[in-house]
């Protein structure tokens, strides 16, 4: 990176040849990294397609819950999931087992609250 650093500081003292060499390096580096980045994205998209799109007959995209009870349960699970994830994250970051830390903040309820848990708060205010 000697030449590039020199270019960054000042190109006044550089010969035309040095400038040319430096620029060529910048170009190769630049085009190379752009391609590298977009190739990474290429493989990611291909992988994403493999994982998400493959099983065509079965519709994966956001299944409409048939049953509100089920939906409610899911939510409870999800929330536990959030706490679990944060707990796990902190635990592993603190080098300790999650067993010493876990907070069980929500127990499954048999309550069958309907879909009013589903919409954003502000949108709902607007609808009042």
């Amino acid at each position: 990176m000697n030449l590039i650093n020199q270019m960054k500081l000042s190109m006044d003292a550089m010969t035309l040849g040095e400038k040319f060499t430096g620029s060529i390096i910048v170009t190769l580096l630049g085009v190379g990294i752009v391609f590298a980045a977009l190739i990474v994205l290429f493989f990611t998209i291909v992988a994403m397609e493999k994982i998400i799109v493959k099983p065509k007959p079965k519709k994966e995209v956001e299944p409409k819950p048939v049953n509100v009870i089920e939906e409610e349960e899911e939510e409870v699970i999800e929330d536990t999931e959030l706490v679990a994830v944060i707990t796990a994250a902190i635990a592993s970051s603190l080098n300790t087992s999650t067993h010493n830390l876990i907070v069980r903040n929500i127990t499954r309820v048999e309550d069958t609250t309907p879909s009013w848990a589903k919409a954003g708060r502000i949108n709902q205010i607007t609808n009042n």
Binding site: M1, A117, R121
Partner: protein, 371 residues
Amino acid sequence: MLDIISQFLQTTGFLNMTGGQFLMIIVSCVLFYLAIVKKFEPLLLVPIGFGMLLANLPGSGIMDEGGLIYYIYNAGIKTGIFPPLIFLGVGAMTDFGPLIANPKSLFLGAAAQAGIFFTFIGASLTGFSAAEAASIGIIGGADGPTAIFLTSQLAPELLGPIAVAAYSYMALVPIIQPPIMKFLTTKEERLIKMEQLRPVSKTEKVIFPIVVTILVSLIVPSATGLVGMLMLGNLFKESGVTERLSKTAQNELMNIVTILLGVSVGATASADQFLKLQTLKIIGLGIVAFGVGTACGVLLAKLMNKLTNKPINPLIGSAGVSAVPMAARVSQTVGQKENPNNFLLMHAMGPNVAGVIGSAVSAGILLTLFG
């Protein structure tokens, strides 16, 4: 050429990522999941999650001096400008009619703030400083802008966990509150029908925000910013002569501020700030705050029902925690499960909007004491 490439590789994030940052990226993706698939307060959790994501991508420098979010954070969060601007929009969306029609709602809105101060005790005793404990307690206010405002002034290093906890629990109100409400009430109480609310005149609705601004600001001057903007927004709405301003306050201005606020708040959740034991404590204390607030609201409503001659269904007490309008809808739904013909929504909106005022007042008190 090879050494140049290797030097460039040094600048990439892959080689500089810490385990904590990796975990935080996962946490931000969980937030996206909750916001987008589970529709938990998406308007705030999507920007907050994205800010969190950006701040934990090593080398992005987005929160370093000169970084994009650094500027936004300093302009809007550190100064405390963004939350009052959001309140301007909230005020322009809020109908205080049910509260004016039944001013007793105010007591319920006050009672439900007990969760804030109760949690303050818990936080003080578990190792937090007073300013931190106050910021954690305010989660119990169940009001996002208020929580962000107070925390940004008292304990900005806790903004990330407190904002995440506040908005998550607000989204979870339909799960947190019903068991508490049922445990504390009898079936007979839940069946109580309330008298229809009287119609409220336009004059009252116009005078209300002005009077509230004056009185609340006199009693708790530190609450002036929040309460004043809430009431200015409401005055825009109710005056009937500033519809242009009301519309902009509740739409474009609010949306712009929401985006900038959410991203900045999320960006404070860097791995080294967020991945601490205290974050779990905050999450735990936050749910205590919600629970105690709910309970106090219900209990005072029970008491009021016994002391006054007009019937009060204790289920509307839980709406006093704020979490507008979710908590009021919870009251409605729990009530309707006992009797499908009992419509509590409008009755619960009174304590609900009173709770917004109540938590802004509480924030003012805590700011006065520890600011």
